[in-house]
């Protein structure tokens, strides 16, 4: 194993981890507020096509990403309207959102197939970003650094701010939070909009950075991995970062196994690529079981997760 290989591997892993990190962070905040939104994949696809389309028209990838965040937030608010205002079932509504986003993105994407969009410039001076070694730190798309910044912000928000405390209180016991005067519905709307915006940016990472073009269903199920990631990280932002890179390594192993190139790990050549692809889900079930078994306070899912909010009035 040589240095060039290792640097390339790290850059690839950081790249493929970024969309699930972004979408996972958003979903983490949503779930912390007690809502389970299974529409992550749909919101990512809406973000992917919106970011792409807006980039085509504006010629500016930054505007594209902002548009992706807005479109993701809007699709989240659609979910919020049904779940919060009309109190419809979260699981079914979330699945509907995924089906909806998949269909809508395919339909809008029709006129964007084959178009090429302007790319992001480098954040750091080109000497650093293109340096054969230093690019492992400086050579990424701006969205990668944004995702890392968001990990810090979300962790800080949930742990150290008053608003974060209220959000967690709403997720742990909505009726109590309601009875002491907090606006449960409002907090959840805000969380869902944030989750949608983050999923939208995560989707735009596919259409603007990974492969700067539009293809139907291009997020390829990563929204579901993001959902798994939140559980795998046991609803904690710093662990979400570690988990995203761990899942990134598994996805990278899968890609390599598909290409028949796992010769650098002794014996790994015999393991099919599907094994690596299934690992994030298997490990999530294992982690979920472990946290349910221990049932220690603070490790578990938010108590109100997925349950409808039914105040006495």
């Amino acid at each position: 194993m040589n240095w060039d290989f290792l640097i390339l591997a790290i850059i690839t892993i950081v790249g493929i981890s970024t969309p699930i990190l972004l979408a996972g962070l958003g979903e983490l905040v949503v779930e912390k507020s007690g809502i389970l939104n299974l529409g992550v994949e749909g919101m990512m696809l809406v973000g992917a096509i919106s970011g792409f389309a807006i980039n085509v028209y504006s010629g500016n990838p930054w505007v594209g990403v902002a548009g992706a965040a807005g479109a993701g937030a809007l699709s989240g608010l659609l979910f919020g309207f049904f779940v919060l205002t009309l109190r419809s079932n979260q699981v079914a509504t979330g699945l509907a959102l995924t089906i909806f986003g998949t269909g809508l993105s395919s339909l809008i994407g029709l006129s964007f197939v084959g178009r090429i969009v302007p790319q992001f410039g480098s954040v750091f001076p080109p000497e650093l970003a293109r340096d054969p070694v230093l690019k492992v730190v400086f050579g990424y798309s701006p969205i990668v650094y944004f995702a890392l910044l968001m990990v810090v912000l979300v962790a800080w928000f949930l742990k150290s701010t008053r608003s974060g405390l209220i959000l967690r209180a709403v997720g742990e016991n909505d009726l109590s939070a309601h009875s002491i005067g907090y606006n449960v519905i409002g907090v959840r709307y805000a969380a869902i909009a944030f989750g949608g915006a983050m999923a939208g940016i995560g989707g735009a990472y596919f259409s603007l950075v990974i492969t700067p073009m539009w293809a139907e269903r291009m997020t390829a199920g990563r929204g579901w991995i993001a959902l798994a990631l939140v559980v795998f990280a046991s609803w904690k932002a710093p662990r979400l970062l570690a988990g995203a890179y761990f899942f990134g390594i598994l996805m990278w192993l899968e890609l390599n196994a598909k290409a028949g190139g796992l010769s650098f790990i002794p014996g790994a050549q015999a393991i099919p690529s599907q094994f690596w692809a299934a690992m994030p889900y298997v490990m999530t079930v294992v982690v979920l079981t472990l946290i349910s078994m221990r049932n220690r306070a603070g490790l578990n899912a938010p108590a109100c997760l997925g349950k409808p909010f039914l105040p006495a009035t």
């Binding site: 049904f82 109190r87 089906i99």
Partner: protein, 369 residues
Amino acid sequence: MQVKLEKRPEPSRLMLVVTPIASVLLTMAIGVIVFDLLGIDGFRAVIDIFVSPILLSYKWQDVAVKAAPLIIIALGLSIGNRANVWNIGAEGQYIIGALCAAGIGIAAGTTGGPIIILMMLLAGMAGGTAWASVPAGLKTRFGVNEILSSLMLTYVAVQLLSYLVGGPWKDPNGRNFPATAPLQPEQTLPILIPGTTVHLGIAIALVLPFVFWLIMARSVFGYQIRVVGSAPNAARHGGFDSDQTVWLSMLIGGAMAGLAGALEFAGALKAINLGFPSGYGFTAIIVAFLGRLHPIGVLIAGIVLAITYVGGQVAQTTVKIPNATAGIFQALMLFFILASDVLVRNRIRFVRSPRAGSGQAASQTAGGE
């Protein structure tokens, strides 16, 4: 003036029937507007998707073939949903069911006949049940959330399918394409109407809703499911074991999804390739809700959803919209049906109270208790 929701003492029977129909009609109306906004002939698209499969008699067999798995899976899911057990991994159980049937088919070699076909269907049910028993066991033993675990296992099943059809079960005469070898003619389900694709699975999908209806309406088990779902505390006092309810609803859901997978494999597709996981297990959740978790409702809703699938293919060629577009309509229907639950459970009142915001008023009342 203020709009206020008032809880009905009993869910409205009228609304229970009217709202699914209204949801479909509203979906069609919104569809026309959305498509027109996107510069597509909206009226034509909606007619193609919702009406053309009914008018074109040669499309009926396609509708029947698509409806069968949706109905069978949704029947199983509606049991669980009634008991508030959320099996959303039916897609995975459907995949495993088909794989188990394929395993029997491969093991049988060139042997066919009713015994082999029966074994394939039973293997499918067993496989689906086994896959569903994992979330059921984790839920009852450790309290693991069945929504998350059953969902995760779906993607494990997808990878297992991908491995088998691309590796050990790959058709040796298939030009290296990842798919199983097609079944022998004697191993496939009998065709009920000669000259069509209407196979035995469609008859099963037509009979099962009535069987489920009888079970739900007349048996102690049906009563248990209904009580556990609507009044969990009463059920506990009445001696209904909640673990047992979880097991039964998960296993029935798994068995039905597995059966649907086996029927789809042995009746419609005859070989499994990477395109086999087409999302029926997820669409069946829409079917269950659109059918109001009632077996006969599920039968009708399954046909409606199948129409949108077939109509989506029609619209693909006529107005040149992608196949996935049918998903927009399926999702809208589910959105509306879920939202309309509010009307089933509540009645809308217009009251005069211009000043107090509803949120404030609500919190004061709750705090004063």
